[in-house]
Amino acid sequence: MLVNFFVRLRSVITISALLLWSACASAAYELNMPVGVTDTSRSVYDLHMLIFWICVLIGLVVFGVMFYSMYHHRKSKGAVAAQFHESTTVEIIWTVVPMLILIGMAIPATQVLIAMEDTSEPDITVKVTGYQWKWGYEYLDEDIQFFSSLSTPREQIANAETKGEHYLLEVDNPLVLPVGKKIRILTTAADVLHAWWVPALGWKRDAIPGFINDSWTVIKEPGTYRGQCAELCGKDHGFMPVVIEAKSEEDYQQWLADMKGEAAQVAAAEAVDREWTQEELMSKGQEVHDGVCASCHQAGGTGVPGAFPPLVAGQVFNAPEPMLQPLREMGFLGPDNTIVMGPVEQHTQIVLKGIPGSAMQAYAEQLSDAEIAAVITYQRNSWGNDTGDVVQPSTIKSAR
């Protein structure tokens, strides 16, 4: 019977080995931790491999003895049980030897850890803020800040289109960093916990609302490095990637200059004192709605029952009372929990300040006057809503 066992075991091992081999042969399979592009990520990788091989070695010895025993000390082979059941000497040996191995692991681990915690004397400091569900980047030494959200089209996620090469790991505005500089990264969050992680840098760090964590990195090679949010942050946790574009110092300076020039252009285009046409507002509004609001309220404004209210007048929204109450007070909920288009001033306030205690966040800091004006105009004149309201950026500016 045990022979049977070994035959089966052997076939299992053969099959697994074949699987493993075909896995290695195909480039699409990723088996191991990436080596990364920083000194930290390399020492973490070395540490990981060191401990892995120690474990493999221990495993070979332990399982080797076990399988030897299982093969030779079987009743069917006529083995007679010995009756020993104690030996202080071996107990001491197999307590002390693992202790020594552990000390051997702890020394390099401590060295790497101490180096990782040294955030002193950075060349550049970037503040990373986690939002549900995007990242905000702020260059503290430059006057640059922007948001970075998933750019994979929704059709790809819904399997209506072929998935691109960087499916779910691509963003509209990547974080651009220079190579060879010590970059200090401060992480925090605006709403719930997030964790900022790019495997090629060798670490992740939690983003905690109300607290700031600091870490550092020096990227060695130019390139594009991709990662993801690593702490569960709600519905779209899987859809807020991190993309870093590491550039040479020269290209980085060029990018900084472009960003500053572009910022001036955008400011001009979005001039708040200009009168916008309804068509302009509607088309920009759709862009903002689909990019920002649709992850909860859906592209068609239908919302999600019990969680995210519809934006379409006449639709019913059944949800727990604490969620309904602010909507009712602000005039957006009629009898029988029907959504109504409340006053435009209240609509503006909700977008600017959010609804405390709910998933509706304040967009005053995240969106420009023009964007807020456009999205409100769009929402009040789409999907059968026909208030005819046209909100100008100047109105938003004075409402702030």
Binding site: A23, S26, A28, Y29, E30, L31, N32, M33, S43, V44, F52, C55, I58, G59, F63, S69, M70, H73, R74, A79, A81, A82, Q83, H85, E86, S87, W94, T95, P98, L102, M105, A106, A109, T110, V112, L113, I114, M116, A158, K163, L168, L193, A195, W203, K204, D206, I208, P209, F211, N213, Q228, A230, L232, K235, G238, F239, G306, A307, P320, A359
Partner: protein
Amino acid sequence: MSTATHVHEEHHHGPAPGLSRWLFTTNHKDIGTMYLLFSLLMFFVGGAMALIIRAELFQPGLQIVDPHFFNQMTTVHALVMVFGAVMPAFVGLANWQIPMMVGAPDMALPRMNNWSFWILPFAASLLIISLFAEGGGPAAGWTMYPPLVLQTGAAFPYLIFSVHLLGMSSIMGAINVIATILNMRAPGMNLMKMPLFVWTWLITAYLLIAVMPVLAGGVTMLLTDKYFGTSFFNAAGGGDPVMFQHIFWFFGHPEVYIMILPAFGVISQIIPTFSRKPLFGYSSMVYATGSIAFLSFIVWAHHMFTVGMPLAGELFFMYSTMLIAVPTGVKVFNWISTMWKGSMTFETPMLFAIAFVILFTICGFSGLMLAIAPADFQYHDTYFVVAHFHYVLVPGAVFSLMAAAYYWLPKWTGHMYDEKLGKIHFWLSVIGVNVLFFPQHFVGLAGMPRRIPDYALQFAEFNMISSLGAFLFGFSQLLFVYIIFKAIRGGQQATDQVWEGAEGLEWTLSSPPPYHSFETAPEVK
């Protein structure tokens, strides 16, 4: 046979007829049976949720569920499996076995025993119906981290009260175990003569009493943060979201050992039986269990290396966590030494026990890797962690439970189970579980975060393999149910000793044992 007539002659010694037998019972065997069947049911409820998760992850893209529901599944799957399946199953084993193993007629506190069981179905129902609440069920993970968990809709109070009730049930079960072991041992059975299963449960019970109130306190603080305007975990009000993680994991790490120490006990009963040789290093096993229990209180922050602790904190928790490898290693070495020069046979319980030793050692290795704080900055919150703790809980805790079920079923039912089907069940399970969880190490190392409903294309192949393993493992468990009910209904009559190498008081009783296990205490030499 004589027992059966005995029951008929003296009615008050036997079970009450009909439904009231189960509702009002104070008998350790009836309550143990209910615990075990309840946990089996919950194993399938939680397993169905796991299959929904794996079906969604079969391919990249969103196919079956939306992301919010996916998060509800990961959350409720974990809570159901931890509090509904694994913990009650071990309490069920304790109920059946501890009185028989220490030579007592029943548990020390039989009425509380009844109550601690009957809380469970209500607590589990609260948890499961919360999925149908407005706004969906709890979706913030079983760890319930604020502020995210405070965004839960109408399901929130269901979640909190369900955790409270489950905790009460566990504490009562634990008090009962301690009272029974300390007061009702047969004459001559001093502490260092107790079977190891009894020892591990004694230590587990103390862990439960120490940490379940901590969890209850933590979730109560969540409740007041949500409804009564407190700011325990809200930085804007002077609180700290990370404090919840400290509270949770001060409960959570001992909780892991609550689910694995009794498993060590089970394995320490089975391996000597089928090696026909006494357990090697009995006293060192007891001390190792005690050491693991002690260490479990000083390692909790290794679950939160990435929250931004001071260097000294990270070093402390790294070193203390690495230390766990020592007593755990001692246990594995002792099991192997027990097998060494034995006279082994490989019936189903032994097969599960051997798989436990191997696969538990693998999760020990990945645990050691995770203990290394700088490397954990990469591993943390990835599928590497998912693979690690599922190796602890499935081929660890769950395999030990299956081993225990096969080992003691003949004693409990009086019938041998179908050995051939048992072996088929073992092989399907052991292959399924490895195909399911082993590839998750790879995707985790390659960078796949946990708790995501959709993933980048480079993770596709291993996820597909993993999902196939999940379905194989999941559906194989139907065979387990069939084998159990077949053994309950009939089969070859089991002898009192059942297994050739079995030693201990429970094997001196008839199979099935009398309704009140030992009416006169046996003498232990």
